[in-house]
Symmetry: C6
Amino acid sequence: MDRVKTGIAQLDKMLGGGFVSGDAVLVAGGTGTGKTTLGLQYLVNGTTQFGENGIFVTFEQMPNQIYRDAKNFGWDLKRLEQENKLKLICTSPELLLETHGTKHLLDEPIRQVKPRRIVIDSLSNLAMYIEEKEVRKEAHRLLNYFKTKQISSLCTWEAPGTIGEGMWLTDVGLSRVADCIILMRLVEIDSTMRKALVVLKLRGSDHDKALREYDITSQGITVAQPFAGFESIITGVPRRVLLPRSF
Amino acid sequence: MDRVKTGIAQLDKMLGGGFVSGDAVLVAGGTGTGKTTLGLQYLVNGTTQFGENGIFVTFEQMPNQIYRDAKNFGWDLKRLEQENKLKLICTSPELLLETHGTKHLLDEPIRQVKPRRIVIDSLSNLAMYIEEKEVRKEAHRLLNYFKTKQISSLCTWEAPGTIGEGMWLTDVGLSRVADCIILMRLVEIDSTMRKALVVLKLRGSDHDKALREYDITSQGITVAQPFAGFESIITGVPRRVLLPRSF
Amino acid sequence: MDRVKTGIAQLDKMLGGGFVSGDAVLVAGGTGTGKTTLGLQYLVNGTTQFGENGIFVTFEQMPNQIYRDAKNFGWDLKRLEQENKLKLICTSPELLLETHGTKHLLDEPIRQVKPRRIVIDSLSNLAMYIEEKEVRKEAHRLLNYFKTKQISSLCTWEAPGTIGEGMWLTDVGLSRVADCIILMRLVEIDSTMRKALVVLKLRGSDHDKALREYDITSQGITVAQPFAGFESIITGVPRRVLLPRSF
Amino acid sequence: MDRVKTGIAQLDKMLGGGFVSGDAVLVAGGTGTGKTTLGLQYLVNGTTQFGENGIFVTFEQMPNQIYRDAKNFGWDLKRLEQENKLKLICTSPELLLETHGTKHLLDEPIRQVKPRRIVIDSLSNLAMYIEEKEVRKEAHRLLNYFKTKQISSLCTWEAPGTIGEGMWLTDVGLSRVADCIILMRLVEIDSTMRKALVVLKLRGSDHDKALREYDITSQGITVAQPFAGFESIITGVPRRVLLPRSF
Amino acid sequence: MDRVKTGIAQLDKMLGGGFVSGDAVLVAGGTGTGKTTLGLQYLVNGTTQFGENGIFVTFEQMPNQIYRDAKNFGWDLKRLEQENKLKLICTSPELLLETHGTKHLLDEPIRQVKPRRIVIDSLSNLAMYIEEKEVRKEAHRLLNYFKTKQISSLCTWEAPGTIGEGMWLTDVGLSRVADCIILMRLVEIDSTMRKALVVLKLRGSDHDKALREYDITSQGITVAQPFAGFESIITGVPRRVLLPRSF
Amino acid sequence: MDRVKTGIAQLDKMLGGGFVSGDAVLVAGGTGTGKTTLGLQYLVNGTTQFGENGIFVTFEQMPNQIYRDAKNFGWDLKRLEQENKLKLICTSPELLLETHGTKHLLDEPIRQVKPRRIVIDSLSNLAMYIEEKEVRKEAHRLLNYFKTKQISSLCTWEAPGTIGEGMWLTDVGLSRVADCIILMRLVEIDSTMRKALVVLKLRGSDHDKALREYDITSQGITVAQPFAGFESIITGVPRRVLLPRSF
């Protein structure tokens, strides 16, 4: 199976080498978990390390902010755009969903950049503009559009419960549309908000099942060791337990 | 009682030999629990090990993806289709539910393949397209259609709560329609998302009551030993306890 | 007080000899708890052990399935029907609720079989077909119809929360209509789904208050000892505790 | 302050001598907690022990059942009715709420029996028949009607959560209408459903604050000692704790 | 800052001397926590100990009951009314909210009594009569009316969750309108319903943060020591813990 | 990156030097957590310590109250207004959102004061006046208006759950609009309501992840050490745990 590397060493390892080429990836997480950073890093690494161009679609932020944020991680998006390796598209959900005859808003950018990777940041924004019943259908249509163009897509999803609550991916039926689901979560440990990441699903392939700590450093996201000695990490408020080996 | 073997040794044992012939089976689970894999494995094993043909009905995935996913497990669906032992049907919920006079969309495929097994992946998709009040009635009608044709059916059901929440099968009254219910669940143990499976119901027959660990290997689903030393496994966030024998 | 024995020794003992003659009994439980089995066993024992005829009303299953399921427990319903001791009625909620002038769908069967016992499997199905506000009124009317005919009735109720959730009998106000309420629940203990039963209410009479384990054997339901050493059994996910006598 | 004794020794003691004369009492509890029994006992004791006549208003049960239930406790309601000391009124919520000019359905019975006590079993039934917004207003009007006639009233309220859930008295604003609130609850202890009772409120007077165990015996309700060694009794699923004095 | 003393010694101490003059105080609590008693005590102490007149506005109780309840605490409201130091106003929410031109229902009573203190018992009743969206606006208007007249106001709020549930002050946005918020809660400790009080907010001033036990004695409310040795008191069902000093 | 110092030493340290210039900051917290105080302190420190003018927009309080509250902390807002360094604007949400052609209500004040900082107290009030679907869009428009004027904004958000409940920032999609999110929470420890603060998000920059205790002193907010020895602080009802170093 062809792999699309994220360039985040430990994450690629968790995924058995990277995302599967052409797959639709869902990155779900609460506020401040770094979903946008992961998306940018995936695209930047794509072009700088693996020679794969990318498109970043956003609905909210002003481009300058994204350029600035990226720069903090040492990613010069503007240069990548000038080199025609990357394209930032600030649009509205309505425009993205509309099709004019057989034409789609992204047809032209895709023709120009010839991306192997695309990031939609975020599917939640899109979900706010359409009927709940339509969300899955529209998401499905959009992701299929990418698949037919053989572009690997990564969509972020803002999970509603910040902390101490379950995370509902399936409310609008999105989990089935995704080939791969990564969950990111703030976790309170020792009076500190730490970050946990887990691959919940990877269609047609084995993957690491551990809840691993990750961090957002000046170089972007770094994934580290699994947590140890806790229960209920996934709820965001784990309990410390004596490990079996301690007995 | 005639048994329809899944070919997953430990699961057949849990079921007292396999599903009961002609029964409607519900496989409920959250994202990434392997419901689709179980469905495919059931059909593939049916034709390769037990000489029983099958039909796989899906509403979402493009056929190529299913072929690819199956191949990862060493299942050559295309060959099985060429040998007229299996048929993949990609359709829409509307088309599946419609009847033209006394004719049903599946009449022709059933006539061709003469299946003993059918998989609907998933009933949740179907439920998204019809009124909540109608779901049970329509599901009932569909499952009865299979029963009158003496085909054993297996439907998957995407449970809404990913983790740390109860699983509601009965919201739309589906649990009564099913003769057999299997629950699959991601379970956080030692900072790892493991997988638990339990047979909740098997009409007219005894069955194993243990919550067993299972895994999705390169050969498909393998069911292993019951968990030990935990409470509240079914919630997805178990607590480790001292076992009584430890006292 | 006249008692209607279930023929399940330990359960009759819990009830102080059996249900009270003419009472309306509610058997509430989740999926796979054996409510239908309890209903059938109550009727079969009635005719074979106590010389009391019975009627079984169902809304969903095809008769053949019920005959088959019963046979697994060694209950030959067809023979009992031929001997005019039992009658299975497969009907729709609408038909059951309708009255034509002073005539009721069950008038004729009741005249024929002269039942002392009747089972409605299940009131939940009935509740799905009528307005929430009407459920209690209609249930009340139906149960009174049986009372005026001096028939002891047993209705099953599919509790919505499968596991790890409260059980709401009173959502539609049914608990007051019932003279006796039996709760059946799947309970996770030592990684196994075991079964707990408790008599919540028995109007005008003392009863056993213990949460007892029960099993569905090849002879039907058998009620055993109370659980010991657990807290919160009724939630379905009990905690093991040190018993006071252990101190 | 004038006291209206319930005749249940320990309960009267908890209340500082009994209910306050003319007060509106709310007895809230789930299924099978004995609210109706408490109401009947209050009336029967009133007439037999304290020379105070009473009226029992019910919306659901057929009179015969109430006579029978009462008889199980040794209470001969029929004789009390013949002696014009008690009156059972089976009516509908609509009829109870209607007023014809200045006339009320209960005017005549009150004139006949000259009751000092009245029981409405239950206010929940009444609440089912009127708009949620109107419940408090109508309850208020009804209770004031009793107050102006200087009759002490006791209303039962069927709390929706059977077990393991909070009890919502205030959803429809009833708690303020009541001068006295008694809470009755099934409580799981040592795998047994025991019963707890607590006086939550007694306007203008001190009262016992303990959660006491009570039982329904062949003589009616008996209140016993407070529970000891538990936390969260009020939730219905208490935790056993080491008492401070055990340290 | 000018202080308005409640006359409840420990509470005034918690508040740093009393409420701030002209402030709007919200007293939130469940059933049976003594909110009305606190309101009356605040007014009676005002006139008898601090020479400040007061008005008590109620929507529900008949005046006689309030006089009676007050008398139990030794408060002779009638005499205070005759001395023109206090005024009880029984009105409806509608009348209180209406304004006739520039005139308000309370203009005349305020002119007569010249109150420094006013109690609205309760804002919950008022909230029941107006649209949810309007509650905050109307409450705001009413409280501002008092502020412009330089009257310190105290409103009671019936929190919906009796026990074991969170308390929602902010559902209708009232918490921002209040300058001071006092929370009163029934708390189950050692099988007894005890009472906890905490000052949640005191705008522009420091205050005691402890959860203190209080009692309703024959002299009214008395506030005592903070609880010790418990966690989660605020939920109403605390857990006993070993205190750090016990280690 | 240009930093906008709050002047609260420990908080600036947590933020890596202060808010990022031009960012939109969200301060979310329940009742009595001091959100308004933080907003005022941010503005006052801006003008007195860093030479940056500010505007404070409020929807509810009467100006006098704010002047008084500020004075308690030693902040003389009136003098700052006379020196044209600060401006308090009491307006309505409607007026703030309206635009007259290209003119905005704040155009004139901004021209006058030339603020580098603006506080909106609170966004919750604003959210009460507009359709839920519009909240994010309007907030976004308002915050962008500030960004284009290069003003750093700080909005307060009244989190609905006072205690023991999750905090939902994302209900109306606000978390994505904010570049920085600070959470303030009342936390019950040792029977006392203490205060916890955490930086949940800081776009494009590293930040302290600890849950720190803070206090509201006579000089305003002071941030102290992280909590130690507790789990689930973020829920408001933490559990004390033995720290790993205690083993």
